[in-house]
Symmetry: D2
Subunit: 283 residues, 4 copies
């Protein structure tokens, strides 16, 4: 098994020598850089970097040192993780199950660098299927009347599992601002259109009505503004006049599965930096 | 050289036996069907067909007979053309020249089944380039103050060339309702976004701002509602955070050229039926 | 629920009036044609048609009548099925499980118009997973020494289930000529390259060595000539120099799943005609 | 106008600290790194880098210094250029003109970072078209009998223009080993198939015969082994049974144009490193 690496993501005001100083810091400690990817937002004068290296000694200690160096000496915002840490992921779902099965099978196959620790749902339908995968299932109905107490229950569950990431596999409820604020963890949603086209409900119906020739899917971080969060990944597929709405739904499922999985993969591989409601994706 | 074929496009309320009656009519006259493509809009109960055959005798006469048969006996709206007729096409352009060159070269190579008869522009910039292609160039500045008289001039030119189709190769002016109504000819526009996302001005800037991961181009028939006409063809290409707006523009040019050309080809091959602000494209 | 339709696929030497005679036959019996799609191989003078209609009366009887009409009066080779018949499908697999899970879940979701009746494997690894899906699993090891007796066992199983179609979800054994001849049923295989590039073993390694910029997957009917059968569907995805062989494998899995599923769908929807080691796909 | 940058491409045996030493060298001279992209071929233990920076002082002098540093102190093979240098490009063509027009128009629009200095052809057909673009045209027929003297003539022309790059826009002759050796300049060829499928002559005919569902185009560096050189860029487009060979040719043209242009762009932007008959493309 490969030795654990350190993966740092940093961004902040550009200044001369950032690449040299980061690489020099690592070289001094006899670290071996595997990947180093930079980006400059020239208009905003912001420097972004993802750098991955094998530390010579104790990885967590070096991570802490680097964190301090990058924050204090370089003035960067920085996230750093040891590659052997596997983030804990919760999946939220309603009744539609294609992303649910696909995501779970990808976690089980080892394709995604995290641990799927629980499934939360506002419907009981997928309880047996979840348990067949040996994953805990938590059911809590959500209606207008009980929304805030339901969200409190959900937050309790997510905290009890020490979840690092929530992924919404076609979860058919809007998360409140309050929920997102208290969760303090990123939430990835899959929307079944090529955003910003067809935001909101029934996007395949909207696409059919408008007569577009491609349908899409968009994975984004959830924010209080519905379907307005930073886009992580998108893809499209061709349709034609013969395709009825059920066929759009069927074709769209394949898109949703692959776009959602790719977004989760990029996040768990620490390849995403969010800035100004957009993403820098180092892939 | 192949004998001319007849190409009929029909649509109207579905009723039993339409396929059989059309095919039977042609068979009786010893016509040889090369292609016959149908579509049913089940929700609206509308039947659409494109059928192409080699007539035994005089093509224009048989075309007229078929027209009457399909309209009177089948109750269909019908367009029919003899394949050897080459529609006359006018190209409208401003200063941006990538679609301009690309479209003209495709006409010159014989790739498009029509005759490019003139170029109209609201700027003089592409006069020499147009003349180098041995195509007449007509310049008429269009400003807010003179818009209606400028459009009258343009209509005169288009009528004098007996134009069958107008294609807007990044013509940076909105055609008025009046112009479209008086023209009585279809107009194909290329919009540099994946409509309905980023309608209106500066779509690449809008796309950059929103942080989408794909940019697109859309060819559609122009209608009085800007960027709302029936979509003919669309395509997208992948971008990433490294791509500045000029790079989106550069990548988008290739999309615009191929999407625009494909829409013109489909139109000139009589493959498009418009219904309910959408297109049925028999390709 | 919709009334059953009849779906006929025919091909044979072209002659005048085929479209009219088929449509006329159906119209006479008051059938309602939903789809009729033709193709002419002009070089070979072969006519191909797929036609789907709702019969007025007893579907199986009309199917038999049509079969006789198309064969005897039109001189066509014809296959006809009642849409409510659901073909029985056997899945062959070894150890690699991504196509296995994906295909089974698609059958279970109702996305594929057939019945998955059994799984056959030359390894015991996927027995528990198959049974968790409530599908019978049959294990028979296949080595050079016992290949012909193993294939006899497999044939017995397939016959006992009255299988109409065999799909190989990354089954890592070559089926013998004898097996294919005795089976008398189509077999769909998924090959993990863009055929004809990289036929044979370890295609992702071959692709990596050659330095191609796209990898592909190909679904085809199995024939005695390995990887030479009629191609049903293909797709590709972009790779770059950063992608190691394991990453090609990972990216390829998504391709394999969707290409394989699409081929099975097209087959079960009776959309494929095979002629001259190629496919005509009416989609 | 932006200050000129230096663009260095290096590769060689990996050793600790390469990123740091390169970045440190630049930082010491107060250079500002815009892009730095690395790649490790782990199996071969080879380090690849492309780094672009604005030098503080005289660009050519700093380029020479860096060259020495990277070669002598780091043991790397290195190419370095000043961004304001515009490589001189010769285009070779026969009669087919779609890539010819497309490439010239892209150079003229400023989209490609080089100077198109001449067109060489083995046919006189495109002389007038070339001159209409105000580019010198040199015609030299090439037959089996005169091949070596014809190639000598071509080499003379290319040398007299001090050409840095030759691009073959569907030039229908094989360049001899001798020619390539004496030229000592890279040659980019566009092949009209998805290599390694359908190498050699008439690839669209081969594709039609095999019944593939996608056709492709491949841009690669020419080497003495026909169609075996390092692949720079590839793309594909979907076809179906309706597409005759002329339609494959027509669809393929658009692919060839965009794939060829992208390869030329990547080369002129110094984004390609060739190693082991493969390319590392930093895009």
């Amino acid at each position: 098994m490969a030795a654990p690496t350190l993966i740092a993501r940093l961004f902040g005001p550009d200044k001369p020598g950032l690449v040299a100083r980061v690489a020099g810091w690592i070289y001094q400690r006899k670290g071996n850089i595997h990947h180093a990817d930079q980006h400059m937002d020239v208009a905003a004068n912001i420097f972004f970097q993802r750098v991955e290296w094998t530390p010579q000694e104790d990885a967590p200690a070096e991570a802490a040192d680097f964190q301090e160096f990058a924050a204090n000496e370089l003035g960067m915002q920085v996230s750093i993780k040891v590659s052997s840490q596997r983030p804990k992921v919760a999946l939220m779902v309603s009744k539609i199950d294609h992303c649910f099965h696909d995501t779970i099978l990808r976690f089980k196959s080892g394709e995604l660098a995290g641990e799927l620790v629980c499934v939360l749902s506002n419907h009981p339908d997928l309880e047996a299927a979840t348990q067949a995968y040996s994953i805990p299932f938590h059911y809590c109905p959500v209606q207008a009347a009980n929304k805030s107490s339901a969200e409190a229950t959900q937050l309790d569950w997510l905290r009890s599992y020490q979840v690092d990431l929530v992924v919404m596999a076609r979860y058919m409820q809007i998360l409140s601002d309050d929920f997102l604020r208290q969760l303090e963890r990123p939430v990835i949603n899959i929307h079944h259109s090529f955003l910003p086209a067809f935001a909101g409900g029934k996007p395949y119906h909207q696409a059919y009505e408008r007569g577009v020739k491609l349908i899409g899917a968009t994975a984004h971080y959830a924010t209080p503004d519905l379907d307005e969060g930073p886009i992580i990944h998108q893809d499209v597929t061709r349709i034609n006049h013969r395709n009825s709405i059920p066929e759009l739904v069927r074709k769209g499922k394949d898109l949703e599965k692959s776009v959602f999985a790719q977004a989760i993969r990029l996040h768990l591989d620490s390849r995403i930096l969010v800035y100004n409601n957009k993403t820098v994706v180092f892939d």
